[in-house]
Amino acid sequence: MTAAPSRPSEHLPQIRRIWGRAGRGWDRRASFWMLYFPPLLWLGAFFLIPLLLMFAFSFRPDMRGDFFQLWHPSLNQYEKLISTGSYWRLLWTSTQMALLISVISVVLSYPIAYFLAFHGRQRVGFYLVLLLVPFWTSYLLRVMAWKMMLGTEGVINSFLIYINLIQEPLTALLYNRNAVVITLIYVWIPFATLPILAALQRIDLALFEAAADLGARPVHQFLRITLPLSLPGVFAAFFMVFIPTVGEYVTPLLVGGSRGSMYGNIIQDFFTKAANWPFGSAMSMIMLAGTLILVAIAARLINLRDLLE
């Protein structure tokens, strides 16, 4: 793709020249550390260290004894986890749900992003604000609103009864896996729109003129130019939705009912309802490993590098 818009890396030599003139080596290093130290410290203290602690905890035989104690690794928790089929099935179910949710969210948010990028014109900022307005209210409140929509005395049921389509309220709308899927798709659409929008906005409009000059119809233009060039954004959106959804636990708790639990709920239960941090940690580690493997496979299949160059 020779006509691709200029990529930031092309400016790097120039930036380096400026840097080289502006300061000596230590200067560069100093600014590097000044810029990167705070976020690194933050990630280290509040993410990496807890993650390592959790890793260490997952090898403890039980909760007994001091919080910090000499480490005698034991595979107890992993053995128990491996021998319990229902947890594996639940992890698989959660993964499938996450796949479904991310695919639908991405498909639904693509037209929104397309509209914002090509038809938003000067009002694109205003539309973006509209898209993000729901996030000014708390997540809990929005999920509660869904409960009011889907409940037996909720908006949907009341309407269907009012127009005499049904006599008894539908109970299938709330407190099951479908409710979790519906709610999460709603939650993710605005998020998924943003990376796709960013990718679409990067497309050089001259490409469309060139394509039109060469006789390409709008459908062809979309399939040959817009879609391929927006794929990085599409995949970014997909992963942004998929990864946190595998471990989701709040939405299933609120609208999932007895049969709507996801893998994340069981992890949460082991931490907050069972006082069994070692087992919860082992479950988290398995999920982390599973997610990483899936992402690695996906990155392989999609071959991101080709896509970007």
Partner: protein, 386 residues
């Protein structure tokens, strides 16, 4: 980062970091439900001297700070009003635990709260793990107002490690309009007749208790076979269960709207709904109601021992106790408070008019660490079952 080296392609790295970050924080966007109360433990070490001075300062002049690991709701001033009035200069900081397991895990992980609030069943491990201080009851002026049977429940290995405080029943709460035939057994929670309209508490030990009552198992000696049968029973029950409730408001909303007809419930929900005019009744199951007691314990090694004891003493005070009864509809361990209850609705809720109510009641026994792990794992498997 070496500026001479060309930048590697950032996307795989970004994805990897994203994967690590997002998968580890689970529902990253969804932290609103269980945001903990602000950390309030560090303040407890300040000014410990004020209370331990040899010549005791007048109560109104005692300063310092006390930190309490408490359940949401009980942090309201109504529930420690006697202490507030006696020691206006002492700052009380509350940290909120969301369950017994949560409070235990926090204490085990080295939480610095001076006082914490566990419930029936969850006392033994605090003693076994050396997390709780024995209480010198001679320092509690309200201690003689507590009945002997309640005092005993706070003793582990013959020593008074905990003081009893709030008291309640668990039973089946049901909508009288939806279940006109009434409920006379815990087995109603399993009854397919009410499919889609049952709500169980989201708790493993609670589920074991219910099954033990129904089948007459000895709750203190559940065998592996019995536990397996209990697991099967609750997996089957799940098809009739609408949702497992975690917090009482959730249950109350379900009962109010008519979605839930029968539920595992504490009497506070019964009294509240009754007061609102919702047609509900609280069963007297033939297997007996369950009864639970909430306790306060003092963290072993606290520098605020004197202040903590004063706090516990004030917790047994009459104004505080009356608020527990009148605002939350739970019983209080101070007998004077209970004897002064006149509201017929409360008398009904506490069963004060039923001389046999205590004989028909089963107290929750203390869990061992093994039971805790096995029963909570059983419950997780029920929820994870396909």
């Amino acid at each position: 980062m070496n500026p001479k080296k060309p930048l590697l392609h950032p996307l795989p790295g970004i994805l990897l970091t994203l994967a690590l970050f997002l998968s580890a924080c689970g529902g990253g966007v969804a932290t609103a439900t269980d945001a903990p109360a602000p950390e309030a433990t560090s303040a407890s070490t300040e000014e410990p001297a004020a209370t331990s001075a040899p010549t005791e300062a007048p109560a109104a002049e005692v300063t310092g700070a006390l930190s309490v690991l408490e359940w949401a709701g009980y942090d309201a001033e109504d529930f420690w009003v006697d202490f507030k009035n006696a020691y206006p200069e002492v700052t009380v900081n509350f940290e909120i635990g969301i369950s017994d397991a949560d409070i235990y895990a926090k204490m085990a992980a080295g939480n610095q709260a001076d006082v914490f609030h566990p419930y029936s069943g969850w006392l033994q491990f605090y003693v076994d793990e050396g997390l709780v201080e024995e209480i010198d009851t001679s320092k509690l002026s309200n201690w003689d107002k507590v009945s002997e049977s309640h005092k005993k429940l706070g003793q582990i290995n013959g020593k008074q490690y905990f003081i009893p405080w709030d008291i309640g029943f668990t039973s089946v709460l049901y909508r009288t309009d939806k279940i006109p035939e009434g409920v006379d057994s815990w087995a109603a929670l399993m009854d397919p007749k009410y499919a889609g309209h049952i709500s169980m508490w989201d708790d493993g030990p609670g589920a074991v208790t219910v099954s033990a009552y129904i089948h007459g198992y000895d709750e203190t000696a559940i065998t592996d076979e019995q536990l397996a049968a209990i697991q099967e029973e609750w997996i089957t029950q799940r098809d009739s269960n609408l949702f497992y409730w975690a917090g009482e408001p959730e249950l109350q909303e379900g009962m109010r709207s008519g979605d839930v007809w029968a539920a595992y419930a504490w009497q506070g929900s019964y009294a509240l709904l009754l007061g609102e005019g919702v047609p509900v009744a609280y069963a007297n199951p033939k297997e007996g109601r369950n009864s639970w007691v909430g306790f306060y314990g003092i963290r072993k090694g606290t520098e605020n021992l004197d202040l903590a004891l004063k706090f516990l003493d004030a917790k047994l005070g009459e104004a505080t106790g009356s608020n527990v009864v009148n605002l939350f509809y739970y019983g209080h361990s101070n007998q004077d408070v209970m004897n002064s209850v006149t509201d017929p609705m409360l008398i009904e809720a506490f069963g004060l008019n039923d001389p046999d109510i205590l004989e028909k009641t089963n107290f929750t026994p203390n869990l061992t660490a093994e039971q805790r792990d096995a029963w909570t794992a059983m419950w997780a498997e029920v929820k994870a079952a396909p």
